[in-house]
């Protein structure tokens, strides 16, 4: 496997139910994404975007297929990792529709929660977090509580949290859904910049066609399969 591969999906399927009531949502999907790519996932409602995202995030077990994150096979017709949470802590970042910061933790604590849980020392974590916060232009908000920040600022903090554990991939579930057009574009530009500069792959679910030109690739779910469109 090439060292440049961030995520590889091979013949991935997901069905619910059994026998006559069996419903297949994803059927033999295959694709691979390189490190540093900004990818959007587009499909009509109810066609399996969230299910695909959950499978990629090791939250939902596929029916069959193979998932490789970085150079680690995490699923090959069965889970290959014993501790899915540990895998998520170390390899995957999440950004949600709303910021979903933990309201009783300040900004710094929200961001450092995962690295500290991973057993990293303050000496290692602190400079990294300061760099991320500086990068997102939020350094002065480190001690603020989420309730003291605007929606846009909190979404930037959510991005910082997703970056804090230096993941291979970031799964972003409609991260701009709660933002106005101007802020949505601003966040998407920032995500693209992050993929380039942090060498992390971001898969963003979106319904907003106006954001697609900013992506390197577009994943479409059609007839239960994944089609990849490469932006020129």
């Amino acid at each position: 496997m090439s060292n440049n591969i961030a995520l590889k999906i091979e013949n991935l399927s997901k069905s619910f139910g059994k026998g006559d009531s069996e419903v297949t949502i994803i059927d033999g999907a295959s694709f691979s994404l390189n490190k540093g790519e900004f990818v959007s996932l587009v499909a009509p409602s109810g066609t399996g975007k969230t299910i695909l995202l959950m499978m990629l995030g090791c939250v939902l077990e596929p029916t069959s297929g193979k998932i490789t994150i970085g150079d680690e096979v995490v699923y090959d017709n069965k889970w290959k990792v014993k501790d899915d949470r540990k895998l998520r802590r170390k390899k995957i970042g999440f950004i949600f529709q709303a910021h979903y910061l933990i309201p009783f933790l300040n900004i710094e604590e929200n961001i450092t929660l995962l690295p500290y849980q991973n057993g990293e020392s303050k000496k290692v974590v602190q400079p990294r977090i300061e760099k991320i916060m500086d990068y997102l232009d939020m350094k002065e908000k480190m001690k603020s509580m989420p309730s003291q920040l605007s929606g846009g600022q909190n979404q930037r903090i959510a991005i910082a949290r997703a970056l804090a554990n230096e993941p291979d991939i970031i799964l972003a579930d409609e991260p701009t859904a709660a933002l106005d057009r101007h802020r949505a574009v601003s966040v998407v530009k920032m995500l693209k910049k992050i993929t380039r500069e942090q060498n992390v792959t971001i898969i963003m679910v979106t319904h907003d066609d106006r954001l697609l030109p900013y992506c390197d690739k577009i994943l479409h779910i059609k007839d239960k399969k994944i089609e990849i469109e490469v932006n020129p």
């Binding site: 995030g57 895998l87 999440f94 949600f96 979903y100 933990i102 009783f104 604590e109 500290y116």
Partner: protein
């Protein structure tokens, strides 16, 4: 490592404190109930302990004078005093009165004893003002809580009695205040009838106004004699029922207050269970309030152990704060109760251990919810 419980509590401190104090009031009631029980046990023994008698001689086939009515002739004391191993013997009476002082109604136990005898009936250590009775008539010693003051004249029956002494912490076996008079006065108060009754009795052929009856004969044994052996010997020779001091105490605890203490004990257990259920419900509700955060924490990779520890720590802190506020509440209100509330540290410590262990068990509902929470809830809005 970030302590999630500390951060969560700090974030909603006032809400957490109010919740803890509310549970604390409930625990305070539990502490008071235990105090009522302890007070009842203490009161049951205090009178028998105060009276410096080794042996109680009462009416045959009775459990007198506290558990059952007992009447013996006063002159029995002479017969008892001549028994082998007896140093002193004296007569004693007990009678309950309903009294009123300055608009306050209360029940008292009137104790009549021989002020010239050698058996100490009033515990000198509890005499906080004045003296013991030194005259054969119309003097009384009262419990401080009756509200009577030294030198005051109090009407009992047909006569006025002068308060010559005030005692502290003296109560009957049922927690009533005490009034001491001479034996002669007490006999008159208990056994002397009105003129109408005397005339009626005379027509019925009943003669005499004061039969010189008392409720018990108390006695002290000589050094070197086994109290139980002496008691059993007297029982055989006098055809009376004889109790040692220890037997009398056991009688009071097992016969007189057993049902009441059982009732209070059951009520206390129910209150403890209710408190634990309420703590469990509070923790469960607190967990439900955080279910979105918990699903996010699980999704981003925080292990169940870390999240469960947050729930357990919050439960334990809630239990500790509730216990502290419960103790403060109990100590603040205990003084206002008419009967003795005995708040003992050992009981508080035992309750603390019970609440602590129970709180951890109570948090299992919250932890169950944590484990069952699907991290996928955070995805898809």
């Amino acid at each position: 490592m970030i302590n999630l419980a500390y951060k969560d509590i700090s974030h909603s401190l006032s809400k957490f404190l109010i919740t803890a104090m509310s549970v604390g009031v409930l625990l305070g009631i539990v502490i008071i109930m235990i105090g009522v029980y302890r007070g009842m046990v203490f009161d049951a023994e205090v009178l028998v302990s105060d009276i410096k008698a080794d042996i109680w001689v009462v009416q045959q086939d009775t459990l007198g004078p506290f558990a059952q009515t007992s009447k013996v002739h006063e002159d029995l004391k002479h017969q008892i005093s001549y028994q082998e191993g007896i140093k002193e013997a004296g007569a004693i009476t007990f009678q309950t009165f309903q009294m009123e002082n300055r608009g306050k109604d209360f029940k008292v136990m009137l104790i009549g004893y021989d002020p010239f005898g050698n058996i100490e009936v009033i515990d000198n250590k509890k005499l906080i003002a004045g003296r013991v009775i030194e005259k054969p008539h119309y003097e009384m010693v009262v419990s401080q809580k009756t509200g009577y003051s030294l030198g005051e004249s109090v009407k009992l029956g047909r006569e006025y009695y002068k308060v010559v002494g005030v005692t502290k912490d003296t109560v009957s076996n049922s927690g009533d205040y005490l009034i001491y008079t001479s034996l002669q006065d007490a006999e008159v108060l208990q056994f002397t009838y009105t003129n109408e009754r005397i005339r009626s009795d005379e027509k019925r052929g009943i003669k005499g106004t004061n039969p010189h009856l008392v409720n018990a004969i108390i006695a002290q044994t000589k050094d070197g004699f086994n109290i139980t052996t002496v008691a059993r010997t007297i029982e055989q020779t006098t055809h009376k029922k004889v109790f040692t001091k220890e037997e009398q105490k056991i009688l009071l605890l097992e016969k007189v207050i057993k049902k009441s203490s059982k009732q209070i004990g059951m009520f206390t257990v129910i209150l403890i269970i209710v408190s634990i259920v309420i703590i469990a419900l509070i923790i469960y509700t607190m967990t439900l309030e955080k279910i979105k955060e918990i699903s996010i924490l699980k999704l981003i990779g925080i292990p169940n152990f870390t999240i469960s520890m947050m729930i357990i720590e919050e439960t334990v802190v809630l239990g500790i704060l509730a216990f502290i506020s419960g103790n403060i509440f109990a100590r603040l209100v205990a003084g206002g109760f008419p009967k003795r509330i005995l708040l003992e540290l050992s009981d508080a410590f035992s309750l603390f251990v019970i609440i602590l262990i129970s709180s951890i068990f109570a948090s299992l509902f919250g932890i169950y919810k944590v484990i069952k929470t699907d991290p996928a809830q955070a995805i898809g809005g």
